[in-house]
Structure formats: structure tokens, C-alpha cells
């Protein structure tokens, strides 16, 4: 009986044990099968990321502005070499391979605050790489770095921008077109042995990298160089705080050159002062001063509120009722609109503003694109400021016509002149001509949309350019922009700088000139603004004296270049 009970008990234990074992097998085989399979895969394989090459940026002539490459970098992990003797031994081996003095390697390791990584040398060749691998040095490794190169350096720094350490765009086109340029990383899975040494492929798990797309810009590096050189010389000569220069095709809105000084080296952007990284063309709106006068005059003529031959009395230099004086205390009498523009009379413009009225002035300026972004394909554009009529004071309609109580950015102003130059059509400023994939196929093309409706009548635009603004250069304040053989036109401006506390800085100005050439079917429009030229030098500070010669210099080089198709 006792034996029987024992057998039954053993049987129950055995059946239970078998049941548990069966359950465990079921769990392993069906419930956790996937987890174990994944764990097993992980142990047997290693995954390597294959980085996609970032797209290249070209100018309109095919010059490379930004491109990527990889470079092998030797590094030391100082925390794995706690004894100075170990560092010395490692340095002795490395100095023969890298041709770098041993004491220098020791110094890099000792001086480093980062105990996990010290860069020793970048850009090593294959033989050096193999020698280091064979040396099997503790705490020494090789890492492949993705580097971004900017062959033009500072020339196009504010346009192209720069990338951070992770290869992500942080400014300029690198930021704006991050999604287009970056591509998609791939991965390669390899089988590994117990020591994690690769022994074979897993082609079924291979995912190829997808390279980034390339950008072709409207910028011409040669014209960019003309603009930058002329601007830099003048900025140095006048010890100015900053300067900007832009050139545009008035019929398409294509930006041919864009320079903002001071600029920076995009490969060393992290060592530059933040102030130098600003593209002032887009980020710094300012009161434009007299360069807005032709726009206001065009709006008034187009709406029929004033006539071409209508005469305005310019109050002999000071209009007491509205407290408006002339620049340089000039005393002007009766002027037509052409003479008002040529002599840049503030009183005359105030009278045009009054005659036109608040609503028409506001609507006209909005149509020209002021107070709103131009949608240029660069990041950080400030829309400027044009208050709605409800916020205007009684003086506003007399102040805005000569460039006070309105903030504009340089692209808005240049676009407004492009509208005058092309016969009254609105254009969209743009800097990317096309996006091209790695096979050379065009995936996006910015085609000139052509006239998209007239902001002002063509005859008004032509009269302003060919008659009034050509007169500014031939007979007025812009004579230093004149060239032999080509009719330059434009308008000077010497704008007060508004203080954050209210009122205006009485000792500093922004000297500007906006114009183009030739007068009939203009090829280009150009804008130059130089901020705070040093008045103590006694060389002058007005737009006619400081900015107009720069535009003349730029056009002198650019016009033959464009006409000969060089």
C-alpha cells in the first residue's frame, strides 16, 4: 500500500514536472520565440550605419560653394591611460606613424578637459590607419568624421550658412534646405563571431544610403566677389560699422549677389562673434530714408493724385507746420516730382504724401511688399514694419514718403526697385535656381513666373526709371554712380538711425544707394547700404558720397561681365 502511494506521488510529481517543462517549452517556442530570435540575431550580428553624403551647393556657374567629405581621425581616450608612462609609450608609437612629435601628443592628452576623447590628428591615410590598427594601442581609436567644406570660405558665408558638429544645417541655405540636403542614412548588417569580429554579410538586411540632393543657386561667385571687394574697401575706408550689398535680376527676382559685412568663415563659425553671423540683409530692418521716395512718387503718379508736370512749393527749406527740413539745410522753391526726386526734397515728398492721402499711400506700399516677408528662400527674414493706417499719427502721411516711421529690410527695398525696373511687375526674390538629385535629375526648378500682374502701370515705372532716377545720377545726388557708356540710374539715401529709447541718433547715419543699369530694359538692380560711416574722418557720410561710388564700382565690373557672358 505504502509503495503504491509512493509510486502515485512520484507519478504526480513526474507529470507535474513534465507539464511544467512542456509549458516552458511552449513559452520558449511560441510566446517568447520572437524575443529570443531577436536576442540571438543581436548577438550574431553587428549593424553599421552608412552615412548619406550631404548634398553639394553650387553657384550658377557650377562653382562648389559647399560640399561634404569624410576624414579619418585618430583619437585617444585619456581615462584609459591613467599613468603618465602609458601616455608616453602610446605617444612614442604614434609619433612614428603620424609624424607628430611625441611631446605634442602628450601635451594634447594632459591638457584635455574631456577625459573621454582627445583628437590627435584628422585626415590620416590608409597606411597610417592600418599601422595604428596593427599596433593595437590601448585607449587609441580611429573615427570617421563627416566634414563640411566651403571652398569659397567667407565669400558666400551668409548665403550658404554652416553645419553643426552633427552635420545638421544651422544657418543660411544649409538650414533652410536641411531636408533636401541631408539625404537618408543606410545600414549594413554583418555576421560576427564570438569576439564581435565580422565574418560575413547579411545582404537581406542591407539598406543603402540615399545621398542628399544638390542645390544650384542663382548666385554668381564672380559678381559676388565684385560686390564684396567694393563693399569691403569702402567699409574700411569709412571705418563703418557694417555694410550690405545685393544684386538682383529685376525680371526674375534671381539674386545674383548678396553680401553682408562683417562676415565669417563658415568652417570656423564657432570661433566667431555672434554679431558676425547675422545676415543683416534679412535680420536688420531699418528706416530707409530717401531711397523710398521713388516708390512713393510712383504710387502717387500711378493713382493719378499727382501729375508729371505738377509743381510743388518746397517751403524754402523748412515747413514749419509739419516740422520738416531738408537734408543739408538746402533751400528749395518750386519743384516738379522729377526735381523733387533729383534733389531729394523731404518737403516735396511730404506734400506728395498729403495729396495722395493715408489709405492710398498705405495700400501702395503694401502692394510693393513692405511690411510683409518677401518669401525669399533664406531663413530669418524680418518682415519690417508698416503700421496700419489706424495707428498712424497726423504726421505719418508726411513722414513715410521720405522714409521715416517705416521699417524695411534690404530685400524688400531691392524688390521694390526691381518692380520699377521691370515695368511694374511683382517678382519673388529667390536664391535657389534648381534642386538636382545625385543622378543629375532636376527635382525642383524655380522658373521665372513672368509678370504676375502690375503693381503700377508700365509707363509710370518707365518714367520713374528713365527720367527721374536717371536724372538723379546725371544731375543730382547720385552722380558718383555714373559710368561711361551705360546709363546708371538710382536714388541715394542718408537715413537717420532710430534709437531704441525714441528719437534719432544725430551723429550716425545709414548711407544707401539703390539703382541699376541700363535705364532701358535694366539687366540688374543693386542696393548698397553702409551703416555708420565715421563722420570724424571728414570724408562725408551721405548716400551720394559713400554708397553711390560703390554701386558705380560694382556696375563698372559687372556690366561687361554680364554683357559678354563671361
Amino acid at each position: 500500500m505504502r509503495l503504491k502511494i509512493t509510486i502515485i506521488a512520484l507519478g504526480i510529481v513526474l507529470v507535474t514536472a513534465m507539464g511544467l517543462l512542456g509549458w516552458r517549452l511552449y513559452v520558449l517556442q511560441f510566446v517568447k520565440a520572437e524575443t529570443f530570435a531577436q536576442d540571438s540575431q543581436r548577438q550574431q550580428t553587428a549593424t553599421f550605419t552608412q552615412y548619406a553624403r550631404r548634398g553639394t551647393i553650387f553657384d550658377s556657374r557650377g562653382n562648389v560653394l559647399a560640399a561634404s567629405n569624410t576624414a579619418d581621425e585618430v583619437f585617444i581616450e585619456p581615462r584609459r591611460l591613467p599613468n603618465p608612462e602609458d601616455v608616453k609609450e602610446t605617444a612614442m608609437v604614434l609619433q612614428d606613424i603620424l609624424h607628430l612629435p611625441g611631446p605634442e601628443i602628450c601635451r594634447l592628452v594632459y591638457d584635455s578637459k574631456n577625459k573621454g576623447y582627445v583628437k590627435i590628428q584628422s585626415g590620416i591615410d590608409l597606411a597610417q590607419r592600418q599601422a595604428i590598427m596593427n599596433a593595437r594601442l590601448t585607449g587609441v581609436g580611429i573615427q570617421s568624421q563627416r566634414l563640411r567644406y566651403y571652398p569659397m570660405g567667407i565669400l558666400t558665408s551668409h548665403i550658404v550658412g554652416f553645419c553643426g558638429a552633427e552635420g545638421m544645417g544651422l544657418a543660411g541655405l544649409e538650414l533652410k534646405y536641411e531636408d533636401v540636403l541631408k539625404g537618408a542614412d543606410g545600414k549594413e548588417v554583418v555576421l560576427v563571431d564570438v569576439n564581435r569580429k565580422p565574418i560575413g554579410f547579411r545582404p537581406d538586411l542591407y539598406k543603402p544610403p540615399f545621398p542628399g540632393q544638390n542645390l544650384i543657386l542663382t548666385i554668381d561667385s564672380t559678381i559676388q566677389q565684385f560686390v564684396r571687394a567694393a563693399l569691403q574697401d569702402k567699409m574700411k575706408e569709412y571705418e563703418a560699422e557694417s555694410a550690405i550689398g545685393i544684386m538682383m535680376d529685376p525680371y526674375t527676382g534671381a539674386i545674383l549677389a548678396m553680401v553682408s559685412l562683417p562676415d565669417f568663415d563658415p568652417e570656423r563659425f564657432n570661433t566667431e562673434k555672434p554679431d558676425r553671423l547675422k545676415n543683416r540683409i534679412l535680420t536688420d530692418p531699418y528706416e530707409p530714408g530717401s531711397i523710398i521716395k521713388p516708390i512713393v512718387a510712383a504710387i502717387a503718379l500711378d493713382s493719378g493724385h499727382i501729375g508729371y508736370r505738377e509743381v510743388f512749393y518746397c517751403e524754402d527749406g523748412y515747413w514749419g507746420k509739419y516740422r520738416i527740413g531738408e537734408f543739408g539745410n538746402h533751400r528749395y522753391g518750386n519743384f516738379t516730382v522729377r526735381e523733387i526726386l533729383i534733389q531729394s526734397s523731404n518737403v516735396g515728398m511730404a506734400k506728395i504724401g498729403l495729396k495722395m492721402g493715408q489709405k492710398r499711400l498705405y495700400d501702395g506700399l503694401r502692394l510693393f511688399g513692405f511690411g510683409q516677408k518677401t518669401d525669399i528662400d533664406l531663413p530669418g527674414e524680418d518682415p519690417g514694419l508698416l503700421y496700419p493706417v489706424s495707428k498712424w499719427s497726423g504726421y505719418s502721411v508726411t513722414r513715410i514718403p521720405f522714409g521715416h516711421e517705416i521699417l524695411v529690410n534690404a530685400i524688400q527695398m531691392l524688390r521694390a526697385y526691381a518692380i520699377l525696373a521691370n515695368g511694374g511687375s511683382r517678382v519673388t526674390p529667390h536664391i535657389v535656381k534648381a534642386v538636382v538629385d545625385s543622378q543629375g535629375n532636376i527635382t525642383q526648378l524655380h522658373e521665372a513666373a513672368g509678370p504676375t500682374g502690375f503693381v503700377i502701370k508700365p509707363e509710370v515705372a518707365h518714367w520713374i526709371v528713365r527720367n527721374a532716377l536717371a536724372g538723379v545720377v546725371n544731375e543730382g545726388t547720385g552722380e558718383k554712380a555714373a559710368l561711361e557708356g551705360v546709363q546708371v540710374w538710382g536714388k541715394t539715401g542718408t537715413a537717420n538711425i532710430a534709437l531704441p529709447t525714441g528719437g534719432y541718433d544725430t551723429s550716425n547715419y545709414v548711407a544707401s544707394f539703390v539703382g541699376g543699369a541700363p535705364a532701358v530694359n535694366p539687366k540688374v538692380v543693386v542696393m548698397v547700404s553702409i551703416r555708420k560711416p565715421n563722420r570724424a574722418l571728414n570724408k562725408g557720410y551721405s548716400g551720394g558720397r559713400v554708397a553711390a561710388p560703390v554701386v558705380g564700382e560694382i556696375l563698372k565690373k559687372t556690366m561687361p561681365y554680364i554683357e559678354k557672358g563671361l
Binding site: A71, D125, P151, L155, S221
Partner: protein
């Protein structure tokens, strides 16, 4: 069940040993070829890197900025020596 004869046993042992050696040989060869492939690919990558860095260096030497900074300006045309035509 009869025991295998001595030659048969020797054959089986030789066959198994041979198979084992052949397997090891195949495995070693596979590993070596794979390593050679990896090395060649790494070498190709380094050469491509090198080629690209040379291309970029060339780009930095032939761009307008470098040339304007390093080439002398072209001489101004001398108007007094213009050829007279009859």
C-alpha cells in the same frame, strides 16, 4: 548487429576528419576573403575620400575669390596707343 570491419572504420574516421578539415578550410577561406573584401572596400573609401579632398582643394584654388586675391589686376588699356586706321 555486426561490428564494422577495421578498414571501414578507418575510412569513416578519415572521411569525418577530412570533412571537418574541409569545413574549417572553407570557413577560414570565407573569413579571409571577407576580410580582404572589407580591406579593399576601406581602401577604396579612403582613396575616394582622398580624391574628393583633392577636388575640393582644387575648387578652393580656382574659385573667383582666390583668383582675385592672388592674381594681379589686368593692366588698364592705354588709350594713347590706340592704332589709327586709315
Amino acid at each position: 548487429m555486426t561490428m564494422p570491419t577495421r578498414p571501414r572504420l578507418v575510412f569513416i574516421i578519415f572521411f569525418l576528419t577530412g570533412t571537418l578539415i574541409f569545413t574549417i578550410l572553407l570557413r577560414t577561406t570565407s573569413s579571409r576573403v571577407y576580410n580582404q573584401y572589407c580591406y579593399a572596400r576601406a581602401e577604396q573609401n579612403v582613396l575616394l575620400q582622398d580624391l574628393r579632398s583633392q577636388q575640393l582643394r582644387l575648387e578652393s584654388l580656382i574659385n573667383p575669390r582666390y583668383m582675385f586675391e592672388h592674381l594681379p589686376p589686368p593692366p588698364e588699356p592705354d588709350k594713347s596707343k590706340t592704332k589709327k586706321t586709315r
